[in-house]
C-alpha cells in the first residue's frame, strides 16, 4: 500500500472516531447538562414556547409558559420549591434524562401523561430531539417524528 493511501485512510479513520465520539457524547449528555438549568422549549409548530426549570437535584421540573416565573424558580432551591408548589394545582411535572432520552411527565387528578423526547443531542446550550413519544391521559398516545428544540437560557 502506498504511503499516500495510508495517510488518507488514517485521516478518514481519525475523522470517523472524532465524529463518532462526539455523537456518542452529545447523545448521552442530557442527564449531565439539564439539572439546575432553565430551557426554552420550542414546539413542533415553531410558534409556541414553554419554559422548563429543572431542579438542581431530584426529578422535579417546572413547566410553564411564563418565562419570568421559570427564571425566578432557578434563583435558588427555595425559589424553585415555592414556584413548584404554587403550580402543583395545575399538575405536577417530573422528568428523567437517561442516555439519549428525556421524558417529562405531568400528573394531575391521578392521571399521568408522558412525553419522551428521543435521540436527544446536546450541542452546547442547545438540545435537539428528532422525535417524541407521547402518552397523554384522555387524549392519545403515539410517536411523532417531528423535531423539537430546547435552548438553555440560564
Amino acid at each position: 500500500m502506498r504511503k499516500g493511501t495510508k495517510i488518507v485512510i488514517s485521516i478518514i479513520v481519525a475523522l470517523l472516531v472524532i465524529v463518532g465520539g462526539f455523537y456518542i457524547y452529545a447523545s448521552h449528555a442530557a442527564a449531565g447538562h439539564i439539572p439546575g438549568h432553565v430551557y426554552e422549549y420550542t414546539s413542533v409548530s415553531g410558534n409556541q414556547k414553554a419554559y422548563m426549570t429543572f431542579a438542581q437535584s431530584g426529578d422535579e421540573v417546572i413547566v410553564t409558559p411564563d418565562k419570568n416565573k421559570a427564571l425566578q424558580a432557578s434563583n435558588s432551591t427555595a425559589d424553585f420549591e415555592k414556584v413548584y408548589k404554587a403550580q402543583a394545582k395545575e399538575g405536577k411535572w417530573n422528568y428523567k434524562a437517561d442516555g439519549s432520552k428525556l421524558t417529562i411527565s405531568k400528573t394531575q387528578n391521578k392521571q399521568v401523561s408522558l412525553w419522551q423526547y428521543n435521540n436527544v443531542l446536546v450541542l452546547g446550550k442547545k438540545m435537539h430531539s428528532s422525535s417524541f413519544t407521547y402518552q397523554i391521559a384522555n387524549a392519545g398516545q403515539g410517536l411523532d417524528k417531528k423535531a423539537t428544540n430546547f435552548e438553555q437560557i440560564k
Binding site: 414546539s43 413542533v44 409548530s45 405536577k92 417530573n94 411527565s105 399521568v112 412525553w115 384522555n138 411523532d144
Partner: protein, 332 residues
C-alpha cells in the same frame, strides 16, 4: 394576436389556480389554529395551563372585548383552563360553568365555544364539582402513528406512583374523553347530545360504576356486579358509606377513592371472597356486599356482565403505559 389571447388565457388560468391554492392554504391554517395536526396537538405546550394573560391575548385575537361580555362566544384554545378564563374575563368560574352547562371541568374541549356573559346570576344551589385547573381536552384521540407505544424512561416519581398505587396505570386511558364516554354510555339515549361537555352522577349508569370499580380493583377476592333487582341483594348487607360520598366519587369518576371507602366499610378480618353489588335507587347509589357463599346462587345470571367487564379491562390495559412489548413501538 391569437397567440397573445392564448397566453393571456393561460396566465389567467394559472393565476386562478395559484390564488385558489393560496386561499385554501390560508383557510386550513386558520382552521388548524385550535385543532392543529396530530403532531401539534400532542405537543407538550398544549398541555401546559395558559396564564390569564395568554387567554386575554387569545381573546384579543378573536376580537373579543373583555369589557363587553354579554353572550360573547369564545373558542376555547389549547392550554385554557376555567381558572385562567375566569381570571382573564372577571367572570366567576361558577358563572362560566352555569352559563355553559359545565358540571365537570375535566370536560372542556379545545375548539368548543364558551359563552361569556357577565350579566345574570348563578343559583345558590348550583355547585359544580369541578377542577378549574384542568387544561382543555381533546374530543378526538390524538394519534398518527403507532396505536400503542412504550415509554421506557420514566421519572422516579412516576415509577413510585405506579408502585404505590399497585398497577393503577391501567386507569390511565390514552384516548379522548368523548371516545371513552361514547363507549361507557352507549346505552343512553341521545337526548343530551348537545351537552356532551358535561356529565353528572345521574348521567352515569350503574354498569359504568361497576366497570370503574373493576378497573380500580387489585384485590382478587373482590368482584363487582350490578344488582338488577332485589333478589340479587337479598343475602347481601348494605355497606355503611354515605350516599353523598358515593355520588361525589361517581361524579368525579374517582373509583380509586370509592374502592377505598368500600374496603374500609368491609370487615377487614374476613378473608372470604366478597361480591360487591351496586344498585341504583332513584338518584341514589347503594352498595352491598355479599360473601362467597351467598353469591353462588346468583352466579349464573351474572355471567354475561362478568365477561363484559373483562373485555373492558383488557381493552383498557391495552392502552396503558405498561402494555407488553409485543405490539409496542419505540424510536430508539
Amino acid at each position: 394576436m391569437k397567440i397573445n389571447n392564448k397566453t393571456r388565457l393561460g396566465a389567467g388560468f394559472l393565476t386562478a389556480i395559484l390564488a385558489s391554492a393560496a386561499i385554501a392554504t390560508t383557510t386550513v391554517a386558520h382552521a388548524n389554529s385550535v385543532t392543529g395536526s396530530p403532531e401539534e396537538q400532542a405537543d407538550i405546550t398544549n398541555w401546559i395551563a395558559n396564564t390569564p394573560q395568554q387567554v386575554s391575548n387569545n381573546m384579543a385575537m378573536q376580537h373579543i372585548n373583555v369589557n363587553h361580555l354579554n353572550g360573547v362566544r369564545y373558542v376555547i384554545q389549547w392550554g385554557d383552563t376555567l381558572w385562567s378564563i375566569s381570571h382573564a374575563t372577571g367572570i366567576s368560574i361558577a358563572k362560566l360553568c352555569y352559563d355553559n352547562n359545565i358540571r365537570n371541568a375535566n370536560m372542556i374541549y379545545a375548539g368548543n365555544v364558551l359563552i361569556l356573559n357577565r350579566d345574570g346570576y348563578v343559583p345558590d344551589d348550583f355547585d359544580p364539582d369541578i377542577d378549574p385547573y384542568v387544561v382543555a381536552q381533546t374530543k378526538v384521540t390524538i394519534n398518527n402513528g403507532p396505536q400503542i407505544v412504550n415509554i421506557n424512561v420514566q421519572p422516579d416519581a412516576i415509577k413510585q406512583y405506579y408502585d404505590n398505587s399497585n398497577n393503577s396505570n391501567t386507569t390511565n386511558i390514552y384516548k379522548a374523553n368523548s371516545d371513552n364516554s361514547s363507549q361507557a354510555t352507549s346505552k343512553k339515549d341521545d337526548s343530551d347530545s348537545d351537552s356532551e361537555d358535561s356529565s353528572s352522577s345521574s348521567d352515569i349508569s350503574v354498569s359504568d360504576i361497576v366497570d370503574g370499580l373493576e378497573k380500580a380493583n387489585d384485590n382478587d377476592k373482590l368482584s363487582f356486579k350490578e344488582a338488577d333487582d332485589d333478589s340479587d341483594i337479598k343475602d347481601a348487607d348494605e355497606l355503611d358509606i354515605d350516599s353523598d360520598d358515593i355520588a361525589k366519587d361517581v361524579k368525579d369518576k374517582d373509583y380509586d377513592d370509592l374502592l377505598d371507602k368500600i374496603k374500609d366499610a368491609l370487615d377487614s378480618d374476613d378473608d372470604s371472597d366478597v361480591t360487591i353489588y351496586v344498585q341504583e335507587d332513584g338518584d341514589e347509589i347503594h352498595i352491598y356486599a355479599s360473601s362467597d357463599k351467598s353469591d353462588e346462587d346468583s352466579n349464573d345470571s351474572e355471567d354475561s356482565s362478568d365477561s363484559n367487564d373483562e373485555d373492558t379491562d383488557s381493552d383498557s390495559s391495552n392502552q396503558s403505559a405498561d402494555t407488553n412489548d409485543d405490539t409496542e413501538e419505540d424510536d430508539d
